[in-house]
């Protein structure tokens, strides 16, 4: 049985961006809105963010939104759109204060203000040296943002459809008409008919073998958009965070280095001094991740293995216990060590998708290089690409992106819902979804989804990771094509109706395969090195040919068409990037 629900506005995803939008929408009188989330909202991956949210409050030393904007532009390796970046850094101050007013328990300075600390790539006077800009709540800032926004949504009486997984977008007459969702508990399909839909579905780091990302980070939103004709922007740029716990990939916040921790190789050398003389361990993430790999390649990994040490022992037990308590807990639980006394074994871990669904600064999804919108369709957070992160995101700017653009999207959706009518539902809107699920459920093939997933994760890690070249990328594309073909014969073991996670995980694998393929294709196409995209066969940045965004469109035959979009430059002309 298929139920149909009607709303003005729908938010898909219950993390930071989704809940910020929901809270904004809930303030609009008479507007019918709901949040649909495949997890209980407090399980969302925003809660795993640790180190802080960037805003030039200047609580501890002089700071300005202009400096923040410059750092973000430079961090993006000049691929970020500067109009959007300036706007985000201006909004940052107001939105962080708004979070505090909602009750967010920030750590405090001696005079009772929001505490701030240093973070990678954040500087004063346009690159002169590190600045305290990251507003933090111990090392669980994301957890506090997620909890606070959820609390505010409860207060505002937001309607939640928890554990409903969106499987398709419904379009009609060239605009959005709603979504199709699967109620996990009952196995029923639901049609949500709406004027405006926001995708805030998060990232897709699970395409890699070593990742800090949640198991739920399978790129459902971008994959659904892509299958419905929406392009994906800048997919070749995927951030590897320098400090994931060796093998596990669990994030160790940059806040450890912000508080004074340093990276060391097997000789005990603080090697970042050689790679980034000014910012050292606080250079931006792409720079530090590459440096770690270069040390490992030169035989200076610890015990000849593929990791280095993050040394927090110099902070002293008091600082570790009060400012980095969760890090201490992770190290004790998973490594059996105390970071106050022993170095942490770390390796770069797949962390954040700079690319995603292209939007303008109001969260409206845009389909091409002249900003043609798909009316009623919005995206915000990691699944979106505004683009404020360009080729490499700075730490603390993801939480900022969520709340700034979640709020802006919510505001624009209110305007849109006031002006627009419901688009009529097409006949049988759930038909394609039903068919796809039935195919998965009744497949007679014998391909094991977990094998395909593991092979995809390994090939992405080996060939589409921190270092890339044409041969490796061609090999990755060939392997991914093969895996996509095998996926057609995948076997779902669980045929049951209720809470069928086997079916949903297999469906999610299809999303990851599509996005991995787009990522590898865009990476092969971009013959330069910029930010997180490093081509060993093209090691230099090439502004003459590549100062432009990639837009990847799905072809009917399953391939990818690539087009481009210019970068918006306002006040910071591209310069050489040195930390």
């Amino acid at each position: 049985m298929i139920q149909t629900h009607t709303f003005d506005a729908l938010v898909v995803g219950g993390g930071g961006a989704g809940l910020m939008a929901a809270r904004t929408l809930a303030q609009a009188a008479g507007l019918r809105m709901a949040v649909i989330s495949k997890l209980y909202p407090t399980r969302s991956h925003t809660g795993a963010a640790q180190g802080g949210i960037g805003a030039a409050l200047g609580n501890l030393e002089e700071d300005h939104p202009e400096w923040h904007a410059f750092d973000t532009v430079k961090g993006s390796d000049y691929l970020g759109d500067q109009d959007a970046i300036e706007l985000m850094c201006q909004d940052a101050v107001e939105v962080v204060l708004e979070l505090e007013h909602m009750g967010l328990p920030f750590s405090r300075t001696e005079d009772g203000r929001i505490a701030q600390r240093r973070f990678g790539g954040h500087t004063h006077h346009f690159g002169q040296g590190p600045v305290r800009r990251s507003c933090y709540a111990a090392d669980r800032t994301g957890h506090m943002i997620l909890q606070t926004l959820y609390q505010q949504c409860i207060k505002a009486g937001v309607t939640f459809f928890d554990e409903f997984q969106v499987l398709d977008l419904v379009l009609s007459e060239g605009r959005v008409a709603g979504v199709v969702a699967y109620q996990i508990r009952t196995g029923d399909l639901h049609i949500f008919h709406a004027k405006a839909v926001l995708f805030a579905t998060g990232g897709f780091g699970r395409m890699y073998a070593v990742t800090s990302n949640a198991l739920a980070f399978t790129g459902d939103g971008p994959a659904i958009a892509f299958r419905n004709g929406v392009p994906l922007e800048d997919m070749e740029f995927f951030q590897f965070h320098p400090t994931g716990i060796y093998k596990l990939g669990i994030l160790i916040t940059e806040g450890v280095r912000g508080e004074g921790g340093v990276l060391r190789n097997n000789e005990g050398e603080r090697f970042m001094e050689r790679y980034a003389p000014t910012m050292k361990d606080l250079a931006s993430r792409d720079v530090v991740s590459r440096a770690i790999y270069q040390e490992i390649r030169a035989g200076r990994g610890i015990d000849g293995k593929r990791y280095v040490h993050l040394d927090a022992t110099r902070l002293g037990p008091e600082v570790v216990a009060t400012k980095l308590p969760d890090i201490q807990d992770f190290c004790r639980t998973y490594l059996g060590i105390d970071p106050a006394y022993q170095p942490i074994p770390v390796q770069p871990t797949a962390h954040y998708a700079m690319g995603g669904i292209p939007t303008d600064v109001d969260g409206r999804v845009v389909l091409d290089d002249v900003k043609t919108v798909l009316p009623g369709f919005y995206a915000a957070g990691e699944c979106a690409c505004v683009s404020v992160h360009g080729a490499n995101r700075l730490g603390t700017n993801s939480l900022l992106d969520l709340v700034v653009f979640g709020r802006r999207a919510g505001r624009d959706m209110i305007r849109f819902c006031r002006e627009a009518d419901l688009a009529p539902l097409p006949p049988d809107p759930a038909g394609p979804t039903l068919e796809r699920l039935e195919q998965l459920r009744s497949s007679k093939g014998d391909e094991v989804p977990a094998r395909i997933r593991t092979e995809m994760q390994d090939v992405m890690m080996d060939n589409v990771g921190v270092f890339r070249d044409a041969a490796g990328l061609q090999e990755a594309i060939r392997r991914l094509e093969e895996l996509r073909e095998r996926y057609r014969y995948v076997r779902v073991q669980d045929k049951s109706r209720y809470f069928n996670t086997d079916l949903l995980e297999t469906w999610e694998l299809g999303c990851l395969l599509d996005l991995a393929y787009v990522t590898a294709t865009c990476a092969l196409n971009r013959t330069e090195s910029r930010g997180a995209h490093y081509r060993e066969d093209y090691p230099a940045r090439d502004d003459a040919n590549w100062l432009k965004h990639t837009l990847a469109y799905r072809r009917e035959d399953g391939g990818v068409d690539i087009r481009y979009k210019p970068v918006v430059i306002t006040r910071f002309p591209p310069k050489e990037r040195v930390y």
């Binding site: 204060l97 009750g103 009772g112 929001i114 709540a137 409860i154 198991l215 969760d326 073991q493 809470f499």
Partner: protein, 235 residues
């Protein structure tokens, strides 16, 4: 190491009652119990059903009973739980399927204590509300809660009476009652002073032992009880 999992199974479509199934998995001692479940689901039995997401103890999805104790599968290592591991759903909420319980009553308990900042004064223009480090410290411990339900489902008082609001809800009430910026303490304390409130706590400490975030829950509940008494005496 060879690890034997004994897992409680139940599919409402086909089973009248729960039963146990055993699986053998090869794991590293430093692997998580969740790694074992994932390995079983991936390569032995795709029908095994449980919730999971972050896999490192911050999202609260995979609370379950491991060797009889509520815990997160992603924060329990095989070295500590093995080599024979019994896995069952949390106690006290209806089982939906295998290790998945109905969390709706848990979140209803959470919502009952008004888990949001209550302060009707307009916030200061252009700056934060001030709070000293000491004021912030008063409720720091209870801000760590991830709503996994390990505490509430290990509380004998909750097992005995499902209407008891439970430790998790009290922890979240504590987080606001002792926040210097909040003005809603009286409303929350009124909820918690009812028969289903804090007085059902018998100081058994199961909640404190079960909390994967190491929140001193029993202490927080006692602080709320003292606050009710203090306010009764001083009014």
């Amino acid at each position: 190491m060879k690890t034997l999992f004994r897992i409680q199974r139940f599919d409402p479509e086909t089973d009248r009652a729960p039963y146990y199934r055993e699986y053998e998995v090869e794991l590293e001692p430093t692997d998580r119990v969740l790694d074992g479940l994932n390995a079983i689901k991936a390569y032995q039995d795709g029908t095994l059903t449980y919730r999971r997401s972050c896999a490192h103890g911050v999202c609260g999805s995979d609370a379950m009973r491991i060797n009889g104790v509520s815990a997160l599968a992603c924060k329990t290592l095989v070295r500590d739980a093995g080599p024979k591991i019994t896995v069952e759903p949390l106690l006290g909420y209806p089982v939906i399927k295998d290790l998945v319980v109905d969390m709706e009553p848990f979140f209803a308990q959470y919502r009952s204590i008004l888990p949001f900042l209550i302060n009707d004064d307009p916030p200061p223009e252009g700056r934060e509300r001030l709070q000293s480090i000491e004021e912030r410290e008063r409720y720091d411990d209870t801000t760590k809660c991830i709503l996994c339900a390990a505490c509430t489902t290990s509380c004998p008082s909750f097992w005995a009476n499902e209407h008891y609001v439970g430790p998790a809800a009290i922890v979240n009430a504590h987080r606001f009652i002792f926040d210097s910026r909040d003005q809603g303490a009286a409303e929350r304390l009124a909820v918690l002073n009812q028969r289903t409130g804090v007085w059902r706590c018998r100081k058994i400490f199961n909640c404190t032992d079960a909390c994967p975030r190491e929140i001193r829950i029993t202490e927080a509940i006692a602080a709320v009880q003292r606050e009710i008494l203090f306010r009764a005496v001083s009014s």
